[in-house]
Amino acid sequence: MASVTSATSAGAGEITAELAGFREVQRLAYACAEAVAGQLKPGVTERAAARMQREWLRERGVRDWFHLPFAWFGDRTAFVNFRIPLQFFPTNRELEPGMAFILDMAPVYKGFTADIGYSGCLGLNPVHDRLLADLEAHRELILREVRERRSLREIYEDVDRLMVRQGYANRHRAYPFGVIAHKIDRVRERRWSPTLFGFGTQSLKGLASDALHGHRDGWSPLWSPYTFSDHPPQPGLWAVEPHLGFRGTGAKFEEILVVTDSKDPQESAFWLDDDLPHVRRWQEEKAA
């Protein structure tokens, strides 16, 4: 990760080849999400949607995963009654008109990882539209506070407070360790890339080694509400995924936040890419 951080701090807006690689895979993943979302129609199951994502990406050269694609429909977008992590896996729930859905995938392409979340709905769903619109404030809040070098735990609590003020429930609390974000990194390309409970073993290895180093140095690759996240943002790439829930409807976005060790606040943290579906949507709404 050292190359990324030093290179970006060297010149304003200069994008290294590495960041370009991450950006490429993130764009690929969002393109996949939009393509699959366009094909969803009533009756499609979560399993089918997950398979469509997997096949779309596999055709375009993805061989390894941070985690396999997920798809959640209806009240599963808000993780209603989720008790055990196995419930995250796609089920035979069928999509119905007016239902919200979330596609979440983390492909590894040419050794670069992305982890994205795409929220949409089939037809009209005013609650979903409102949730998605209200996510914008969270994207701004997170970037601002990371630049201020607040502790990750504090930022987590501020996001929580904003959600409560908006009238929503925090649904990223349902993720393993309640994380709002986690670190991602480059992954060595192997001929054989097995997965364990939906997570790529290479990526898990990277995460574990980060956890080990972090534990020694007092930081964690998991951004959670707990004491182990009570430290300033660690330079590197973070997949940030605030997830709002409101009475059986959920919405999230997930994208890469680049944190560097630069002294310049603008360069100390920035979103890897601003040309993403949800950002474009907000811009269009403002223009309209």
């Binding site: 609650v127 609590e157 509400p225």
Partner: protein, 616 residues
């Protein structure tokens, strides 16, 4: 059979519609039928007395009365509907001022009653389908109208209350007799006991004698005492003859239909079913399979006894208006869309929640919104209250408003109550939820701290109950008050003396008020949540410590409650359940339920726990 249809003749007793009654003549105000236009419809050898209210150009709503009543049973409802619709009421043959068939036996069959209805419909609304509303035997008749072939296209919608179709009833009994599981047997026996009067009415002569003698004389008093029916021109003087003639409704139809129920009694129009939960004569289970007969069924439940047109006219007016309007406009987007579990109970009701900008109040407002209620979100935080109202509209509230009021300010609450009364109507469910937290030992709690916490937690509830409860009681059509107390109300502790005191007061206030209002059909519930993950921790005052220390403890408390993570939505669900079941005291979280049990059975253990000083 008989010659009928369209041969109505105005006998010069009332005004003919159209003559001087254009749309400009304005709605008929007032509750009675004094201003009704009257006409007579001749059909099948009887003269039916028909009254009309409202603008004839509007959709026609025909109200059919039950037994032993006359059309005057509808006076309040008709008055309420007249501003929006062309309201038509008629005395069923043999009742009120309509004449009776001769001979009486065989003159009250459902076929003949259908003839009467068609004659009235043709007279008052030629060529345009009518909306039918029936209560008791009026509803039994109207089920016949809504399910026979020859009325197809004449009925736009049907609202049924306290009167099942005899055919459906017959099938209901047959089904239970055919496979008498313990549950079905119990249902049969239950309804069998409730139908005692039907057996009585089948005896010859005696019912007539009773009605014309002592029963007729005492009936108004019986209605007042047993059914809480207010007076006011009801029952009318014609009661003894109405009741004596009406006995033939039972004799002519019940045995025949129950023995051989029609197999094709499917409704050909949309049906709204209003079920009073306290009906002495009809079990709610009668309507269990109704979707099979009426595919487009909208269910409503009402905590009331049998005579809902007299005791709950406002609620009926609101539901009938909503249903009829939806059917007239035929706009699927305006169809009743609330999806919550209690949509049948709270649809269209006016619910006011204080402290609705966050936490339990906001979740409660949302839960009621999901059930289709109209929401008034009250809070000191204007922005938060507006946000709650805004979101409530998204999830099913037909209307929602945010009001910025401090509940501890009596004048402001009084003003709010006036505004609500004039602009939104009378509150059906009041949730006094606003509250603040205060921690710190008794000796460290200053007088100001005490005043502040009592002002909001206790006086807020008192003001709410006084200003809104009074209006609710004055209306005399029931309602419900929910006060948010706390598990601290029955669990003593050395760290929350002021807060616990305020909440204990709220609990006792609720219990006393419950006793006082029980006779008026107004329920009072106290909700005791326990540790719930809300914003109360981050705004709570910690007495006797520095500002920094207070901030630290707020954060600590917020984290502790966050780890407990009991969602306010579950408290909201418990609140709705408490209203539906009219529960008195509802501890919500497991620890609150545990403490409630301990306070009753092992109070000394609870006192021992109260002495523990929590770690700082």
């Amino acid at each position: 059979m008989n010659t009928r249809r369209g041969r109505d003749k105005s006998k010069g007793r009332g005004k003919v519609p159209g003559s001087g009654h254009g749309p400009g003549s304005g709605p008929v105000t007032g509750a009675g039928l004094q201003e009704a236009r009257e006409r007579w419809v001749h059909t099948g050898g009887v003269e039916l007395c028909v009254a009309e209210l409202g603008d004839p150009a509007q959709p026609t709503v025909i109200l059919v009365h039950g037994y032993p009543d006359s059309k005057e049973v509808w006076s309040e409802v008709a008055g309420g509907l007249a501003s929006r619709f062309h309201v038509v009421l008629y005395d069923v043959r043999g009742c009120g001022r309509s004449t009776a068939p001769k001979p009486l036996r065989g003159g009250f069959t459902l076929e003949k009653l259908t003839d009467d209805f068609l004659a009235v419909a043709d007279a008052v609304s030629p060529g345009r389908p009518v909306h039918v509303v029936g209560h008791d035997w009026g509803s039994v008749q109207a089920w016949e109208f809504a399910t026979v072939r020859r009325t197809e296209g004449r009925i736009a919608s049907f609202t049924s209350m306290s009167g099942p179709s005899l055919d459906h009833f017959g099938h209901w009994i047959k089904k239970r007799l055919a496979r008498p599981t313990p549950r079905r047997t119990a249902q049969l026996l239950n309804q069998g006991a409730k139908s005692w009067y039907v057996y009585m009415l089948h005896t010859p002569v005696l019912p007539e004698l009773a009605w014309k003698g002592p029963l007729g004389k005492r009936w108004p008093a019986i209605l007042r005492r047993m059914e809480k029916v207010p007076g006011g021109g009801y029952p009318t003087a014609s009661l003894p003859t109405d009741a004596a003639h009406g006995a033939w409704l039972y004799r002519d139809n019940v045995r025949a239909r129950l023995r051989r129920p029609r197999a094709d009694a499917y409704a050909h129009c949309p049906v709204q079913l209003i079920t009073p939960t306290g009906d002495m004569f009809l079990s709610q289970r009668l309507y269990d399979d109704l979707e099979q007969w009426a595919p487009q069924l909208v269910r409503r439940t009402l905590p009331a006894k049998h005579w809902v047109p007299r005791t709950r006219p406002d609620q009926l007016v609101s539901w009938i208006t909503e249903f009829v309007t939806a059917k007239e406009e035929g706009d699927p987007a305006r169809e009743i869309a609330a999806s919550g579990p209690y949509a049948d109970r709270f649809g269209g009701q006016l619910v006011l929640v204080t402290g609705a900008a966050s936490g339990i109040g906001r979740a409660t407002a949302f839960a009621f919104a999901e059930a289709g209620a109209r929401i008034i979100a009250v809070d000191r935080d204007a922005e938060g209250a507006a946000r709650t109202a805004d979101m409530a509209r998204l999830i099913g509230a037909p209307q929602a408003w945010g009001e910025a009021v401090d509940v501890s300010d009596e004048a402001a609450m009084e003003k709010l109550a006036d505004k609500v009364d004039t602009e939104y109507g009378t509150v059906d469910v009041l949730v006094n939820n606003a509250g603040i937290g205060l921690s710190g030992s008794f000796m460290e709690t200053s007088t100001e701290d005490w005043k502040k916490v009592l002002d909001v937690n206790l006086w807020g509830v008192i003001h709410g109950c006084r200003v809104f409860g009074k209006r609710m009681a004055d209306r005399g059509q029931g309602g419900h008050i929910v006060n948010t107390a706390s598990a601290a109300a029955f669990s003593p502790s050395r760290v929350l003396p002021a807060y616990s005191t305020s909440k204990a007061a709220v609990l006792m206030l609720s219990e006393c008020l419950r006793a006082e209002l029980a006779g008026q059909g107004i329920g009072v519930s106290a909700i005791c949540p326990g540790f719930v993950n809300t914003g109360i921790t981050s705004t709570a005052r910690f007495a006797g410590v520095s500002a920094d220390e207070e901030k630290r403890r707020q954060t600590e408390a917020a984290r502790l409650y966050g780890r407990r993570n009991y969602p306010p939505e579950k408290v909201a669900d418990a609140t709705l359940r408490a209203v539906v079941r009219n529960q008195a005291v509802v501890p919500v979280t497991p620890e609150a339920r545990g403490a409630h049990l301990m306070s009753r059975f092992t109070p000394r253990a609870l006192r021992a726990i109260a002495r523990i000083e929590p770690p700082r």
